[in-house]
Amino acid sequence: MPAEPPITLRSELDQVGVDTMLAELDRELIGLVPVKTRIREIASLLLIERVRKKMGLSGAFPTLHMCFTGNPGTGKTSVALRMAGILHRLGLSRRGHLVSVTRDDLVGQYIGHTAPKTKEILKKAMGGVLFIDEAYYLYRAENERDYGQEAIEILLQVMEQQRDDLVVILAGYGDRMDKFFDSNPGFRSRIAHHIDFPDYQDEELLAMAELMLREQNYHFTADARAAFVRYIALRRTQPRFSNARSIRNALDRIRLRQANRLVKDPDRLLTPEDIMSIDTPDILASRVFAPAPPPAP
């Protein structure tokens, strides 16, 4: 091993810009601690890998295939979209584009249709990230002649042989992904990073709501904020709660009600503040606060 000037990690950090990237991630994504931790780990690995290369210690290209599991609305798709950019900046993905597909894009309708279709998608995703949403639909246990199995085999082959050309990210609800992996054990072992997305806490959801409102140039009044805190707590106990997605939908409805409230009084002089602020009645009109449970759809 030849004598080399010692390398500090600081210079490497600055070169890759990992710090700014992670700070940006912290700012733009609320909560999601396990995800951020894993990205940090991957970034660190890359950093060490660069240093190792400079010292002449070769290492294999790290396996980056990932699987995101979690309840509805916990940000799996948003993170996957972001992941392509992150890996690109870390130099682990050459083009940094994302190809987002579901079962329909991979599995054909008749014999001999699946392989070209799957290959086409894989080729499009080369150099970037292939994101397979609701991956468990690929495998249908109830039909043994289903073409999904063929797509899975091609996928596994490429995931194994062209690890440096393509990163595959699977996403889906936790329990169904577990079942999927049980019937395709080879899949689980080829994925290095299994990341579970936790449900958001109430305060995280509130922060998210305020962030979403700010992006659309709205804001809560102080009373409305308190009402929304109650809204989140109540909404959580109701069926079909899907985390951030529920919040986004709630905000959309609240904006409708606010618009309606303003339209009802057309002679009033409006200030920008009136237009931007969301008041308590807009929130309290929600059926979540209704005393009787809503009728089943």
Partner: protein, 140 residues
């Protein structure tokens, strides 16, 4: 006799890394890359057979290299060329084509002289391999 047609054909054969870089250039220009093969080396044979479909919407050369690898496995003893098609309005034509694979043995061409009327001579060339039926030339 070494066939020279398309770009780079007077250079030594391109390595895979060099081919990859050329492909990446094509993709970066927004051209669709095609793989074509033939066992008829005559220069007037411009329409070669296509390996699969034209590859639109690719981002990275690894995808074309994957297909090229498969084409070589099947037709390693034939000529394989890449061509890149520019679909933008006003062009709609092939912008570049170059040979990426050739048979180990290239027997070359025979020159035929035909004695025509009043002591005129007509010349034509034909490939030695073209004497054999398609698919049985170049031993593969």
């Amino acid at each position: 006799m070494r066939i020279t047609q398309g770009c780079f054909s007077f250079l030594p054969d391109l390595t895979d890394a060099q081919i990859g870089k050329q492909i990446q250039y094509c993709l970066d220009q927004g051209w669709a890359v095609n793989i074509e093969f033939t066992d008829d080396p005559h220069p007037r044979n411009t329409f070669w057979e296509m390996w699969g479909l034209p590859m639109f919407d690719l981002a990275d050369s690894a995808a074309v290299m994957l297909e090229l690898g498969q084409c070589r496995r099947t037709y390693g003893e034939r000529y394989i060329r890449l061509s890149a098609f520019d679909s933008s309005h006003g062009w709609e034509s092939v912008k570049i084509s170059f040979i990426v694979n050739r048979p180990k043995q290239e027997p070359g061409f025979r020159l035929e002289r035909q004695e025509a009327d009043s002591r005129n001579i007509r010349y034509t060339t034909s490939a030695y391999v073209a004497d054999r039926p398609e698919g049985e030339r170049y031993g593969g």
